[in-house]
């Protein structure tokens, strides 16, 4: 879902840069306060994993492909602030070294994938966590959080493109959502598997969404 240069007009990409700069600034300030140095390698591993996984596109319904975004995975495991830093770093490196996502569109890509996706996933996971119980309940919560994070990012992406006057919303929105409700299923499955694996590694049933990482619970 990396927006290239050319899809967004200056008012939209500049506006998205401004919003993203504020949100990333808040994440940096928050992370500086709540993170501990011993947690940095965990963030590094998570970022490295998300970068690698984003390269592996899986085919979707013939004719298109999707890959793990990782916003939900990071938000569930290290909280939305840490996830914001991780995803922003991944997006900046993808742009600077691989030109995946445009230079002007970086602010919008950060907004969609490093801010909106993790926060939507985090909110969903926390909300469902108070209703659903057990391992099966956790898997359902993780799946829905991941699926919704992709759909929300696709919705934001559609709005940005439509606001730019590139193509009308009534054209781009159904098309984007149509594909991403399917791509989101892949995100959901991969995130469930990854969270289950890490939960077992950590010896917990429900990762607390970064209780100690500024997940908002302390």
């Amino acid at each position: 879902m990396h927006i290239p240069d050319g899809f967004l007009d200056p008012k939209v990409w500049a506006g998205a840069y401004a919003v993203s700069a504020g949100a990333v600034g808040a994440a940096v300030a928050k992370a500086g306060k709540v993170l501990e140095q011993r947690q940095i390698p965990l963030l590094g591993v998570m970022a490295a994993f998300i970068f690698a996984a984003q390269m592996v596109n899986f085919p979707v319904a013939g004719g298109t492909s999707g890959h793990l975004l990782g916003g939900a995975l990071a938000a569930i495991l290290v909280g939305p602030w840490g996830a914001g830093l991780i995803l922003t770093t991944v997006l900046v490196i993808q742009m600077l070294f691989f030109y995946d996502g445009g230079f002007t569109a970086l602010g919008a890509n950060v907004l969609n994938m490093a801010i909106i996706a993790p926060w939507v996933a985090y909110g969903t996971y926390r909300a469902l966590g108070s209703i659903l119980k057990g391992t099966a309940g956790r898997n359902v919560a993780v799946f829905l959080a991941a699926w919704l994070s992709v759909v929300a990012a696709a919705l934001a992406c559609s709005l940005e493109i439509a606001l730019s006057g590139t193509v009308p919303l009534k054209v781009v929105l159904p098309a984007m959502l149509g594909w991403h409700v399917l791509i989101g299923l892949g995100e959901g499955l991969l995130t469930v598997v990854a969270v289950a694996y890490v939960a077992r590694l950590w010896g917990v049933r429900w990762p607390e969404s970064g209780v100690s990482l500024g997940g908002g619970v302390r």
Partner: protein
């Protein structure tokens, strides 16, 4: 996170980047597909503002496409890990007791 788990985590990421990325689906992603179908993909053509090292995840000067992709993946994975590590060191101040736990409980 123990040093051992960090090492395994990084190795897993490197393995995905090196051995799975060459098998990635070459089909356009969701946004690209929509841009194609709705006729605005051409807006992005020739609009690149930067010259980058490994455009489209292809390591330059390598004959085999699979190897070029794998190399780009490995370099990118290392870059991301190092960037977060440096960023973390700069942003996160050592606090009482937190430094003694560097490397984490195992």
């Amino acid at each position: 996170m123990s040093k051992k788990n960090v090492l395994w985590g990084v190795l897993l990421a490197l393995a995905i980047a090196a051995f799975l990325s060459p098998f990635a689906s070459p089909k356009p992603d969701g946004l690209e597909r929509v841009a194609e179908d709705k006729g605005f993909l051409h807006l992005a053509e020739g609009k690149e503002l930067l010259h980058v090292w490994m455009p489209d995840y292809v390591f330059p000067g390598v004959g085999s496409e699979a190897v070029a992709t794998a190399l780009a993946g490995v370099v990118g994975t290392v870059l991301v890990f190092v960037a977060i590590y440096v960023l973390g060191r700069v942003l996160v101040r050592p606090r009482d007791g937190s430094e003694t736990g560097a490397g984490g409980p195992s």
